[in-house]
Symmetry: C2
Subunit: 383 residues, 2 copies
């Protein structure tokens, strides 16, 4: 099977991720931070080392803290449900937010009568006009801005740093959902003035499921979403105020974090630029291949520089599911439908049936694209 569903989760993982998880869990599969025996100390050190690797990756300041969560969705919920809202305040989002953001906002909207505004973007070229954004912010000042760093539908990259610069004029809080970009695009938390950065360990970071999280400054206010044991201050009926403990209740997933640790080593050793370079080469090739077939309608930004390796397409007259099934029968795994991002499809005009989505990773190769070409050719002959 040729796997092109990497936007859902990257697969396979680097060999060292599998190896380290198995080895570490067999040797140190204990509960960290809740006692002082040697096995727990060793596991605890690995967790700390992984936090440092992440802080280095996103160019964090010492004041930043990494909080591990089992999924990016949980990180989004902790942040969005933990912030303080004024009744009627304005939240800007991109057209490309995931249901993790959309459904959480929908819940909060009912509670606080939030005004949700979309950051304007040119529909044809899929490019952001900063002047227009500036003008819109002037008209209706942003209180919080949620930025999907790269769309899980069409791969469009949001220019986080530039939009943040405009939003910070209004002292807006910035939340960046980097589920599809952490480890692939260079992200500078300080330069880009991001207040809350969300990462998914099992996507472009090439780690396993279960080790995602977010990064924030320790001094920022955020209410907890969940309550429970922290292994510290156990006699306190309230959660400790200290980060990361305040948000890391219950047992930390040392197994998953050991895999993320190995994945971060893979990224360090390969080089983030080299990963991006290879992924870009494959993306260009895939777009070129798809464009060759005139029946195929592509939903890609005009500027390839603004795209990660996620490509959506359709064949007018045929549902995305039919195409997806045909590809699957021919040993190519893709994802079809709305990909948990219904607003993106509304914007692209591809709802309610959605698109066929190709998600590439560092572990795809040109032969995979050639095979996609062959299967598509066969499909187009048949239909």
């Amino acid at each position: 099977m040729i796997y092109m569903d990497n936007a859902a989760t990257t697969f396979p993982k680097p060999e060292k991720v599998y190896e380290q998880m198995d080895k570490f869990y067999r040797q140190y599969g204990v509960n960290v931070g809740r006692g002082q025996h040697n096995l727990a100390s060793k596991a605890s050190r690995l967790v700390q080392e992984t936090r440092i690797k992440l802080k280095t990756l996103f160019n964090c300041k010492p004041e930043h803290e990494v909080i591990f969560t089992p999924s990016a969705t949980e990180a989004i919920n902790i942040i969005l449900q933990g912030l303080t809202y004024n009744y009627d305040e304005t939240i800007y989002i991109t057209h490309f937010e995931h249901n993790g953001v959309l459904r959480t906002l929908n819940h909060l909207q009912e509670k606080y009568n939030l005004q949700i505004e979309y950051i304007p973007i040119d529909k044809e070229s899929l490019s952001y006009d900063l002047e227009e954004i500036k003008y819109k912010f002037q008209e209706k000042r942003p209180s919080k801005v949620i930025l999907n760093h790269a769309s899980n539908v069409c791969g469009l990259i949001t220019p986080i740093g530039e939009i943040t610069k405009l939003a910070k004029a209004y002292n807006a809080e910035i939340i960046a959902d980097c589920a599809q970009t952490a480890g692939l695009l260079e992200i500078d938390l300080v330069a880009d003035k991001v207040d809350f950065l969300i990462f998914a360990g099992h996507k472009t970071l090439y780690g396993p499921l279960g080790a995602s999280g977010f990064i924030m400054e320790r001094s920022k206010a955020l209410r907890p979403l969940m309550y429970g044991g922290t292994g510290v201050e156990s006699a306190n009926p309230k959660l400790p105020k200290k980060l990361p403990d305040k948000f890391e209740v219950g047992s930390i997933n040392i197994h998953a974090i050991s895999g993320l640790n190995a994945a971060l080593r893979f990224i360090e050793e390969t080089g983030i630029q080299n990963i991006r370079k290879k992924e870009k080469k494959l993306t260009l090739k895939a777009i070129e291949t798809l464009k060759k077939h005139r029946e195929i309608k592509l939903y890609t930004p005009d500027d390839i520089e603004n795209q990660v390796g996620i490509i959506s397409f359709n064949i007018p007259g045929y549902s995305a599911d039919i195409i997806g099934n045909f590809l699957n029968e021919n040993e190519i795994a893709v994802r079809t439908g709305l990909q948990c991002a219904p607003q993106a499809h509304k914007f692209l005009g591809t709802d309610p049936a959605g698109t066929v989505r190709i998600g590439l990773s560092y572990f795809n190769n040109l032969a995979d694209i050639e095979q996609l070409d062959n299967v598509l050719e066969e499909l187009l002959l048949e239909i």
Copy 2:
């Protein structure tokens, strides 16, 4: 190192758990339920099979649904924060609840002015007097009853079925925290009239971290705690009403669930009675060993039948930490302090320093207890 910290997380796991996780994640490490390719279908089947195994283990009805969560703490939060409360209503808990329950209740108490009452228990013998409980329920009728099935501090088993019978006369809702008992003691969800059963996959179920959850009837009302993508009904700005989707937002941890699946096979093949039998034999031996040393103060129920393999002790005049460190230096891993259950220690009179806790598992053996005996003898000679 002799590992006696199994109440924190069981270690090691059965060999097949390590094997299946590594193999399955290498072969089918994809995102389930969010597309239709063959790899995802295969992974999806494994998740369904694991739900069925759990339903069989707890003697569920077809109306019951298994909801996976990354941790038992998260399951507790979803349930306790998702229930509806009347202002001033009475919640009964045992003296042995974990901070997962205590801290969540503390948060809710402030919101709803909840009246927290302890289920009475004899301090000396550590045994429940059902007549006294009946009388207390009459005096102050229970609205919800939270029952820690076995204490993570002293191993005391709560007679869930008997207390539930009394509470159901008032139509109280029953929440059973089976973190320390699922897979070890036989639990009958129907006979015991439990409304919400919480399990921790990585403890007595011998699975990995990341695959815990809860079981409830599909028709019961419960608000969601988190919002996000479910892979179904993606165009709906609200969560689907259907279980388990309503509570399983974000990517399911197929890696951890594949391990839990193997762990459940281990329990089926070994037999839950045989696991309990071996654990009881080790527990008896450990208690006998500890009792031999007159300097040691034990906190165990008089009736061994009411105890799982978790034993707390102290040596008066010495802090639990000092004893724990000595054991650790002599290659025995235990847990000291409050073990995230401060009320249990208040009740036992062991706060604020807590106890030394031994947590046994099926993978300990008599030689481990003998070695504990030797090290304790050495310690008692030294101090």
